[in-house]
């Protein structure tokens, strides 16, 4: 089986349609994950013990089970209890909740990495709890989180092909559908790989930049 450039030219527009859906799902999923992660992190750090423990268990459960199965669950089981989500929405929610558990860890680590001396200095200068958070802790905790969060964004991007299992016509699904109707896997699959590789190489540079930009302020 030979590589066929003519075929490549022919399928490109369809693949680009798929890429757009992929990117849309990634962005929406990231937004959901950022919020869900914050909720998880806050519940785990400050909620009363039973709630915190339940949240901890939920987070562990979600992190310990495959996103694919979770997507099936959201898409095919939830309608039984009256929740019928459009495929893309179900996908975005699935991605968001799954990656929200990762974001929660990043938030927590970022906050815990602010040295104890900073909390103590805030106390010694008599700042209130709120002032300590807003003026001392968060401004130091957030910048180092950004590269880690961006890392998960990229990971999520690479997991969007899972949405094809719940009928979202993203890049992978378009490629499969092309492959299916033309009986050729080489070109569409390779192109999908190339798309992913290009996007990740771009994001590697973007990440490096982020890491430099938000490098830890190395003074205590």
């Amino acid at each position: 089986m030979e590589w066929d450039w003519e075929f490549v030219r022919q399928i490109m527009p369809t693949l680009i349609d798929g890429l757009q859906i992929t990117i849309l799902a990634t962005i929406l999923g990231a937004a959901v994950a950022a919020v869900v992660g914050l909720v998880f992190a806050i519940l785990r750090m400050v909620a009363p013990a039973p709630v915190a423990r339940a949240t901890g268990f939920a987070v562990e459960f979600i992190r310990g089970t495959p996103l694919l199965v979770q997507l099936y669950f959201i898409f095919y089981v939830l309608p039984d209890i009256g929740i019928r989500l459009p495929a893309l929405v179900a996908g975005v929610i699935g991605l968001g909740i799954h990656y929200g558990t990762y974001a929660a860890e990043v938030y927590r680590a970022g906050i815990e990495n602010v040295p104890r001396g900073q909390w103590e200095a805030a106390k010694a200068t008599n700042l209130t709890a709120r002032q300590t958070w807003t003026h001392v802790i968060l401004p130091q905790a957030i910048p180092p989180m950004i590269p880690a969060l961006a890392n998960y964004l990229i990971a999520m991007f690479k997991e969007t092909p899972l949405l094809s299992a719940i009928t979202v016509l993203e890049l992978m699904n378009q490629a499969k559908s092309i492959a299916n109707s033309n009986y050729r896997y080489i070109e569409p699959m390779t192109l999908v790989g190339v798309f992913f590789l290009i996007m990740s190489l771009i994001s590697v540079f973007f990440l490096r930049w982020l890491e430099e930009r938000y490098a830890r302020v190395d003074e205590r």
Partner: protein, 219 residues
């Protein structure tokens, strides 16, 4: 009415495939993680670039693409793998690329000071790596390796897309035969979670063993 015991049997068969994939994939991942992670720290430019290319390529493309490649495209290059081999290969190389960065990070984290002490004691690079750096780096790697193994376990669900009869796939089969969606999926969710939980228990046990005597103190 529905032969549930038979279907549970089917899911358990799938669970075994999932376990096999996870174990073999992890073994492969471990080997390539060390090879590529240390390769990236090599003195030789060629080795470094090779390792870097491998890592960036496998981290950059999606596991799905890698699976489909291993399954549908490699045969045209004359390499025909069974679905299980293709699954192990793709999962192992994919997770191995992430593991390589863990190895590299841990080795580098055993700071300059330890490496300088090795030079001052006239150890060769190999001796320093073998006796000083790796024994200290290993405990640092373990927690992330544990996470990677769980990621790999979750990744096995994807092989159902290349019709490997893993747990997720068998759940689909059961669903098609019985018309019930909730029961097979709820069952495998619990099974996956139990497997992930076993992995983290095992890793914690290893960490305790490896960390013995170190007490988390860097000198």
């Amino acid at each position: 009415m529905i032969d549930w015991s038979g279907y549970i049997g089917l899911i358990l068969q799938g669970a075994w495939v999932t376990v096999e994939l996870t174990l073999m994939g992890s073994a492969l991942a471990l080997v390539v993680a060390f090879a590529a992670g240390l390769g990236r720290l090599s003195r030789f430019m060629a080795v470094r670039s090779l390792a870097t290319t491998y890592i960036e390529f496998f981290r950059g493309t999606s596991i799905f693409v890698q699976l489909f490649w291993a399954y549908f495209v490699l045969p045209f290059a004359g390499i025909t793998l069974t679905p299980l081999q293709a699954g192990v290969l793709a999962l192992g190389l994919n997770v191995g690329a992430y593991g390589a960065e863990v190895v590299r990070g841990a080795v580098k984290a055993i700071g300059r000071e330890q490496r300088e002490a090795c030079i001052a004691l006239n150890l060769t690079r190999y001796q320093a790596m073998r006796h000083i750096i790796l024994p200290q780096a290993l405990p640092l790697m373990l927690p992330t390796f544990g996470n990677n193994a769980i990621e790999l376990l979750k990744g096995t669900a994807v092989v159902s897309l290349i019709s490997l009869t893993d747990m997720t796939f068998q759940a689909q089969v059961v669903r098609a035969q019985t018309g019930s969606t909730l029961i097979p999926f709820a069952t495998i969710l619990v099974l996956y979670f139990v497997m992930a939980w076993v992995i983290s228990l095992g890793m914690r046990w290893l960490e305790r063993r490896a960390g013995r005597g170190l007490d988390g103190v860097r000198v």
